[in-house]
């Protein structure tokens, strides 16, 4: 069913939450195929299930039913530790509130995924150095998050998410806590990464931001309402 090209293949995904007595169908029978290098915006009102979808793709959540194949491999049945390994190597997260560890320097924050993966210190230093250079953070390496501007914080977060060179980058309202100008900067950074071939999935309320993606998925009540891909020539 999933061809070799597809990076992510969701099949009949269901996810239900129980809040007291009431059931909330966060996702109902979601089928979705995403190819390598796509730039996708997931939009929809609050409670439409878009964040749940993102968590599911990021292996932070498990579906109640359905299958999820990442790079042709069924990851829904993996043991938690194996899922952690997949998260570590194939998935990068970017959060609205950055989620930097406040007591660690920018460099140490970027190093964190490598440390958690058990990479030797010498190689970590090299990779972090490179990331700092790529994201223009060399002069901010030893600063703690509270000494950085919002834009710099999100750049550190993006550097951290991509330092393991993941296959897919998941961004949850990446510009939500930023002003227009820095938000624009961050989006351009993400789009540049996408241009280099990294699959980018952005969840957002912001229509202007969503409109920049080649493929736009609208969600409502846990289902996919529309899934529109712009023709490549339309992109300017």
């Amino acid at each position: 069913m999933a061809d070799a090209e597809s990076l992510i293949a969701l099949n009949g995904i269901e996810r239900t939450f129980y809040l007291g007595d009431s059931q909330v169908h966060a996702l109902r029978n979601v089928n979705l195929t995403i190819s390598r290098g796509e730039y996708i915006a997931v939009m929809g009102p609050s409670g439409s299930g878009k964040s749940t979808l993102l968590n599911l793709i990021g292996l932070l959540d498990r579906p109640d039913a359905g299958t999820y194949q990442l790079e042709g491999r069924d990851v829904t049945t993996l043991a938690p530790d194996e899922q952690a390994k997949v998260r570590s190597e194939r998935i990068g997260f970017i959060f609205q509130s950055f989620h930097l560890v406040p007591r660690l320097t920018a460099a140490a924050n970027i190093e964190l995924p490598l440390t958690l993966a058990g990479m030797p210190a010498a190689e970590r230093t090299k990779r972090v150095e490179q990331a700092l250079k790529e994201y223009g953070l060399m002069d901010r390496a030893q600063h703690r998050p509270n000494e950085l501007s919002g834009g710099q914080r999100q750049r550190v977060a993006i550097a951290r998410a991509t330092v393991q060179r993941p296959a897919v980058l998941l961004a949850d309202e990446p510009t939500g806590n930023l002003d227009r100008v820095t938000g624009e900067e961050v989006v351009r950074l993400l789009e540049a990464l996408n241009a280099q071939g990294m699959t980018l999935i952005v969840v957002t309320h912001d229509h202007a931001l969503g409109a920049r993606a080649r493929r736009q998925i609208r969600m409502e009540d846990g289902g996919i309402l529309s899934d529109v891909t712009r023709a490549p020539d339309q992109a300017t």
């Binding site: 932070l60 530790d81 998260r87 997260f93 660690l104 964190l112 995924p113 440390t115």
Partner: protein, 402 residues
Amino acid sequence: MKIIDTFRYASDAATGNPLRTSLLILAMSIGVAAVVILTALGDGARRYVVGEFSAIGTNLVIVLPGRSETRGFNPANLITNTPRDLTLNDASALLRLVGVERISPILVATTEVNASGKLREAMLLGTNADYILVRKQKLALGRFLTKGDLGHGAAEVVLGAAIRREIFGTENPLGKTVRVGDRRLRVIGVLSEGGQGMGMTTDELLIVPVATAQAMLNTNTLFRILVEARSREQIGEVKARVLKMLTQRHEGEEDVTVITQDAVLKTFDKILNVLTLGVAGIAAISLAVAGILVMNVMLVSVTQRTAEIGLLKALGATSASVRHLFMVEAVLLSLTGAVVGIALGYLGAAILRNFYPTFPAYPPLWAVLAGLGTALVSGLIFGVMPARRAAQLDPIQALSKR
């Protein structure tokens, strides 16, 4: 995650909140310091008592007049039990027993010493020439009592160091006469300073031949007889022979008490060891309290760091990694507290020794190790629950906290 990185991350997390960390270390260190100081006190008391008894001499069997009654009052005692006194003849007889190296009869009284216009109260000790060997004491000047017949008392005296100093100052006392009670005695020697034994110092003694002392006090009894066995192994046999001999000499009545220094030492050793253990147990309660505190603080820390834990998971940390991070942090905090506590404990013991130099308040090694071990174990045990809670956190909920 590499072990060294786990330690670094955990110690960063600990130092990231200095107030919390220092309070926790303080609590743990007080617990450990309490164990160290209290056991130092208990063990110091044991050493002090054991040392005092050892100072009496080695391989000693001590004979006391009278039977120490452990059976309560017996009407028969009213009629029959008039303890005979220990006499010089008893002492001479004991010297002939197999396995006896030396004996030393002892008679003690308080008296006054008077010389060059100075009067001073002093302890009179009547004994024989072997006393200095039995009690392992040293002379500073001159010689000890003349060897010879126990019944013959020369008019000579050996002074304690303090008496000599106070009466003669820096003058050489040898050959001078002092007046003790109603007798004039010639000074033949001076004991060296700092002799100890049975809780009294030898610095204030006047040692005279036992017959002289008996004549001065107008008595023919003895206070004690010290019997030195040839070797440690023979102490038991010598004790039995001494008892048998004296019973025979006292017309078949067992009216003396024979104790061995060994037995006394062992008893005190045992009692004081139990005391030390008891005190250590009480101190250990404060360690347990500190352990519970570690757990509380770590639980609060898990709650405060929910977002961080969620992030770690999103970045690919396994549950085990997260659990290890929190365990290591708890153990590091406990261990640091323990090390600080041991340092505090040693400091406290040193201060104690400074104020009471005769009291050997050294913390025993077992207590230090036990303190360290208990801190480590309580860190581990009380770290488990917070660490598990952290590992089980749902990353989505953890991350959604802003």
